[in-house]
């Protein structure tokens, strides 16, 4: 696994992407610090809050090549023939991406110290500043796993970057969007039924196993129908709640309000774990339907 980790790190740092990522992050961190802190406010959390938006571009940039490029160059055959489990290969890659992801953020961690020393903006709250930075890293862990997953689905780095950006955009605006979802139980049922159908479709695309995907979809739809008959009231606003769970970025909000949100931290780590698991599954599936 260390070999995979080092190679991935090497390819990030020998190519441009690692540096472009770092430069992008530091450039915008600098701009935000200038706008917020150097003009008077000692509040570093608002810098990190604004920085979440930069992940929209930075994460696709960081993760696009990770697996898509291997497929494109056919080097994935080497990975498949190595005496290593796919979980270790994926984890090695993920940790390398995380290492690159964290580097500029560690540099940013110096900013509160510098700002405090300059004392241009009154006294700095280190607790909230570092809480926000920790939250920002945790958010990054989740998003990097999502980006890696998208990269594993795509044939080329450019496609992976595009798809990842769209997905990031979607989950960024998921929070505000859920407010427009109708609250009625019927609408929730319909939306969930459609989602289950889409899930079945994706399953069919990934596994190329029609009967299996069909049975799973029917089971899901059946379960939904059963729940609807048993507890129709619980469907009120359910879809909005489910969709709200996908609003990964919103979970960062508490960190920006000076609270170290342990639940959000667990949530970020769970998202990362789920998407790493999915990435392994996609890679394993590909063995079947190359």
């Amino acid at each position: 696994m260390t070999a995979i980790y080092e190679r991935e790190l090497d390819s990030q740092l020998n190519g441009l992407t690692g540096y472009v990522y770092g430069a992008l992050m530091l450039l915008f961190a600098g701009i935000y610090v200038m706008v917020y802190n150097l003009s008077g406010s000692p509040d570093f959390t608002s810098v990190m809050y604004s920085m979440t938006f930069i992940y929209l571009i930075a994460i696709p940039l960081l993760t696009m090549r990770a697996i898509a490029e291997e497929r494109h160059q056919k080097t994935d055959q080497l990975l498949y023939s190595l005496p290593l489990s796919m979980a270790k290969i994926v984890l090695g890659k993920y940790l390398a991406l995380v290492t690159v992801m964290v580097m500029p953020i560690l540099l940013m961690a110096l900013y509160p110290l510098v700002l405090n020393a300059l004392a241009t903006a009154g006294s700095m709250s280190f607790k909230s500043a570092y809480g926000a930075i920790a939250g920002y890293i945790l958010l990054g862990l989740a998003l990097t796993a999502i980006g890696l997953f998208v990269s594993s689905l795509m044939e080329s780095a450019a496609l992976a970057a595009g798809a990842c950006f769209i997905l990031m955009l979607l989950i960024y605006f998921m929070g505000p969007l859920t407010e427009y979802i109708p609250e009625t139980a019927g609408a929730s049922l319909a939306a969930l039924a459609v989602t289950a159908g889409l899930f079945g479709l994706i399953l069919w695309r990934l596994t190329k196993n029609g009967p299996f995907a069909g049975v799973v979809t029917l089971a899901l739809e059946g379960a939904l129908g059963g729940c609807w008959l048993a507890w129709p009231d619980s469907f009120r606003g359910l879809f909005a709640k489910v969709a709200g769970q996908l609003a990964v970025f919103d979970k960062f909000d508490n960190f920006a309000y000076d609270i170290f949100d342990l639940r959000a931290a667990v949530y970020f780590l769970s998202v990362a774990a789920v998407f790493l698991f999915l990435t392994v599954q996609v890679m394993e599936r590909r063995r079947w339907a190359q």
Binding site: S11, Q77, L78, S81, R287
Partner: protein, 330 residues
């Protein structure tokens, strides 16, 4: 070393490999021979765990490639059709990465890198970026990569494709050298290559194994039939009539040539010098001048062409029935 049992791979409705069964013994160079699209790469990808089979079983050194992939893969070094190289790394970096990924212990790393680089002749280019290497050197780096971790079995998919004649000679020599200590399986659609390098030949056509054995055995298999190329000065009908009474002739193909000549392709079931004489007497008895009488050498090429033509489009019904009982892996 390798046992393949009733291996089948389907892509949707297309069957790439059908009911393949063979055994690979230790210490030989095996040639996997077949035209393009015969299922060679698919089979090799399955043997190395890069691809899952639809049905069937593959065991490598006693380990099932699907059940215990890591143990099985440790025994195998694989060079896919397109060498899996990272262009941005130097040869040294790349080989060092593969060695560590294969779990070569650190204390043996340098020694092994040194040896593999020496065997494959990539020492001179160790410090160069892979993307700047010529095709021949890339192929060597690909083979070097397969040798790392000291696997007992080396699988090479079309190792000489795209190389110049000199490089081909060198790579073949390298494969022969490897074959002294290890089991090597290589695929090729070039018959002369297989004849030159391999101890055993597995012929595959449309995903089915059509023949296997040593090159000499396969030639003998074909030796039951012999082909003569005969040019006579006569009309096709006359020539045909003249040859009709000759015993042992299976088929006569006559084509009219220039200046009243006829080119005959005669397939006979009997061999030996006797047949040559009978042919020539039969023609001269009818006062047909024989301008040329040539016996075609039985070669792997002929074996292959004959087998490829005879290969069944579909397996017999009884075969299919038996196959149904097998466990489905999909």
């Amino acid at each position: 070393m390798i046992e393949v049992n009733h291996l089948t791979k389907r892509y949707g409705s297309h069957t790439a490999v059908e009911d393949l069964t063979f055994t690979v013994e230790k210490g030989y160079v095996y040639g996997f021979l077949g035209p393009n699209g015969a299922g060679k790469s698919t089979t090799m990808n399955i043997l190395t765990g890069c691809l899952a089979a639809t049905e069937g079983q593959v065991t490598i050194g006693g380990y099932d490639i699907f059940e215990e992939p890591i143990k099985a893969k440790r025994l195998v070094g694989y060079l896919p059709e397109q060498p899996p190289l990272y262009g941005g790394m130097t040869v040294q970096e790349y080989l060092s990465f593969v060695a560590r990924a294969k779990g070569v212990p650190v204390r043996r790393l340098d020694e092994q890198l040194e040896r593999v680089a020496a065997v494959t002749g990539v020492k001179d280019v160790a410090a160069r970026l892979i993307r700047n290497l010529s095709k021949g050197y890339r192929q060597r780096v690909g083979i070097a990569q397969a040798l790392l971790g000291e696997p007992e079995i080396i699988i090479l998919d079309e190792p000489t494709v795209g190389l110049d004649p000199l490089q081909i000679v060198e790579i073949r020599q390298l494969i022969r050298d490897l074959g002294r200590e290890r089991t090597v399986i290589l695929s090729s659609h070039i018959l002369s290559e297989v004849q030159a390098v391999c101890d055993r030949v597995l012929m595959i056509h449309r995903g089915c194994l059509v023949a296997s054995g040593t090159p000499a055995e396969l030639e003998r298999q074909c030796a039951g039939k012999v082909t003569y190329r005969v040019t006579v000065k006569a009309l096709p009908g006359e020539a045909r009539a003249a040859l009709e009474p000759v015993k042992g002739i299976v088929d006569v193909d006559a084509a009219a040539g220039e200046g009243g000549r006829t080119d005959l392709t005669v397939t006979a079931s009997e061999t030996g010098a006797d047949m040559d004489e009978r042919l020539s007497f039969a023609l001269s008895d009818r006062h047909i001048p024989v301008l040329r009488l040539e016996r075609e050498q039985a070669s792997l090429e002929n074996v292959f062409l004959a087998l490829a033509q005879d290969a069944p489009e579909a397996a017999p019904a009884e075969e299919k029935h038996r196959r149904r009982g097998r466990r489905d892996r999909a």
